[in-house]
Symmetry: C2
Subunit: 370 residues, 2 copies
């Protein structure tokens, strides 16, 4: 028994952040990148290849003891081919179904007796749900892509003509959105972190607060229990985000993301075990780490590409202003609206943390200049 | 202005741990390694070469915006050649003198009116100090190497015959040993962390406790002030460990180490800014980060090579037993007594932290097996 090699299919920022605990734990870590300038390839050893090419991924798998992937674009057929070849790849294809196919996800949540919004599979005709409603492509959407607010029957008909089968969901007038990160290992050990308030703008998460301010103990326990039930129900191995809508003391499952997730970035500084370390522990079937908070609150803000193309110079101002701010740059080219990094700040004074994080994010992307 | 490339001469565990904040900050990071299996070369992009070869180091420097080094073996002549060629290299050769030449260090401490043990340069004859005394090679020693406890005049004569010029120091009956980590930037910003209790065995640090339990506020302030004065006095750029002996409320400067140091490893989890991140900020002349503690105590234990050659299997037991324990493996071959990793645990209950860290270290190196 010696330190295993973990291979990650994909080399974006999630793989980049996974490289850190891999380094600490002494794992041999390699990413399967498209180009040498991919976010994770900049900082870790890599192999170049195309994740949709089975032969190429299989050749990479031969060099590794365990494989995982950091995005949801890897075709099911590739994951199944890896499994058929005896490769340890996590999450498993059967679990991944519930992330790649939103209709399957809705069925599974119903089967687990957990709260879905009202939903239906839609193949044309008059919908059972009232307008306005939400229409989703069953596969392929994230960050608000593939999700449509539909106001009228004609809008729905038009969309359906373009897309084919849709998942329709009631448009909930929710109070706020949350995410519960959960990890589970093949050994059937599971753990959650305190639930995270996710603040969205145009379908993209802009900031998070963990734990959720003023959440009742009872709701907090219920949403964590639901995340654990789903992890068990879909035989998760690895880390998953369970996104939920909250109305009063009720929650509704929104989406599943079977990977370390933006909603869990706060855990790098805010928790004794980050989601990235936990993901590695889970896929290696190592005992999971403590998910205790390291401070009362952790606030994370996404740095979205704006007018500024230089993300280094702002350090001079921001580090001097806020010595407790922690920076994460993904090494990605700045494009408007693109997630190019995030900042996190931990402490006791929530208002101050939120102000400093908001200031930093606005300063980084050029919305404010002092 | 864009993200600079930092080059590190040397690719041991210090460079490996420096790769983590370099990754987070979005820096371009490259190590100058001897072999591809060097600790840091395993996890970061590297160039192979010999650090004592000026041409080879200069060629590496051409690829980098700022150079630093992670061990004290780089010859002064190489650092001076880099400086002469206009390379930004930190710490500067003039500062490095006080780490490489212990006689120069003693003179400088005296010049700063800070407390030295009684000392003398020794070139033979009857020493001014009483026996037993400490004799040190002026250059090249660390981890207790190059340091000798001398009981008799004939022992001293014999050693001197072999080594030439020695630094002699009184053998202090100290209460305990500490280290103060300090960082300073070219901009003349400086910061210390709370002082660290360093527990040694056979001249090698086995564990640390930060902050020092039961230290008086006055002594705590005095030792931090002394570290800041030395940093200024030697024009430090980067991070330095100031090792001291404590007797009652008095301190005596023992050694300087001009680099991130074993005494500061606790800061990875225990402080808002780790010594590795601070070193990068300092050499890049970025504002320094907060050195606030993230928990009441941080306890670090060094994993020294023992009977066990497999350092991965112990994870199964230790992670299950102690979910809050954080592991750092350096990817080095296990050799008896060699530092091959460390563990850290943070929390409020010092006794429990010390017990868990001691258990983990003993279990890793095979002293105990459950």
């Amino acid at each position: 028994m010696s330190f295993p090699r973990v291979g990650v299919i994909g080399a974006g920022q999630l793989a980049r952040m996974m490289a850190v605990p891999a380094n600490d734990l002494g794992l041999d870590f390699k990413v399967f990148a498209a180009i040498p300038n991919d976010s994770a390839a900049q900082v870790a050893h890599f192999v170049l290849g195309d994740y949709s090419n089975v032969e190429s991924v299989l050749a990479f798998a031969k060099e590794c003891d365990v494989l995982t992937f950091e995005h949801e674009l890897v075709p099911q057929s590739v994951i199944k081919a890896l499994e058929a070849a005896g490769v340890k790849v996590y999450p498993r294809s059967e679990s991944f179904t519930y992330s790649q196919d939103k209709l399957e996800m809705r069925k599974k949540i119903a089967e687990l007796n957990l709260p879905n919004p009202k939903w239906q599979k839609y193949d044309g005709g008059k919908p059972q749900l009232e307008f306005p409603l939400i229409a989703k492509l069953p596969a392929g959407g994230y960050d608000g892509r593939g999700v449509f607010v539909i106001q009228t029957p004609s809008e729905l008909a038009e969309l359906h003509k373009k897309t084919g089968t849709l998942l329709l969901e009631e448009k909930l007038a929710f109070d706020y959105e949350i995410a519960v990160m959960v990890a589970r290992s093949p050994h059937n050990q599971a753990a959650t972190w305190p639930a995270t308030l996710t603040i969205q703008s145009d379908g993209i998460c802009t900031s998070t607060v963990t734990p959720i301010p003023d959440i009742t103990d009872s709701l907090s326990a219920k949403v964590q229990a639901a995340a654990l039930e789903i992890a068990l129900g879909i035989s998760l191995v690895g880390v998953m985000a369970v996104e939920m809508f909250i109305i009063g003391e009720n929650f509704y499952i929104n989406e599943l993301a079977l990977r370390p997730h933006n909603s869990g970035h706060w855990s790098i500084e805010g928790s004794e075990t980050s989601q990235f370390e936990q993901h590695l522990r889970a896929i290696l079937d190592l005992p999971l780490g403590s998910t205790a908070m390291r401070s009362k609150y952790a606030v994370m803000g996404n740095v979205l590409g704006g007018e500024k193309s230089d993300m280094y110079r702002p350090y001079l101002h921001l580090m001097a202003r806020t010595p407790g701010l922690k920076f994460h740059q993904y090494g990605k080219e700045v494009k408007p609206g693109r997630k190019i990094g995030h900042v996190t700040m931990c402490g006791e004074n929530l208002l101050q943390l939120q102000q400093e994080v908001a200031h930093a994010v606005d300063y980084m992307n050029g919305v404010i200049d002092e």
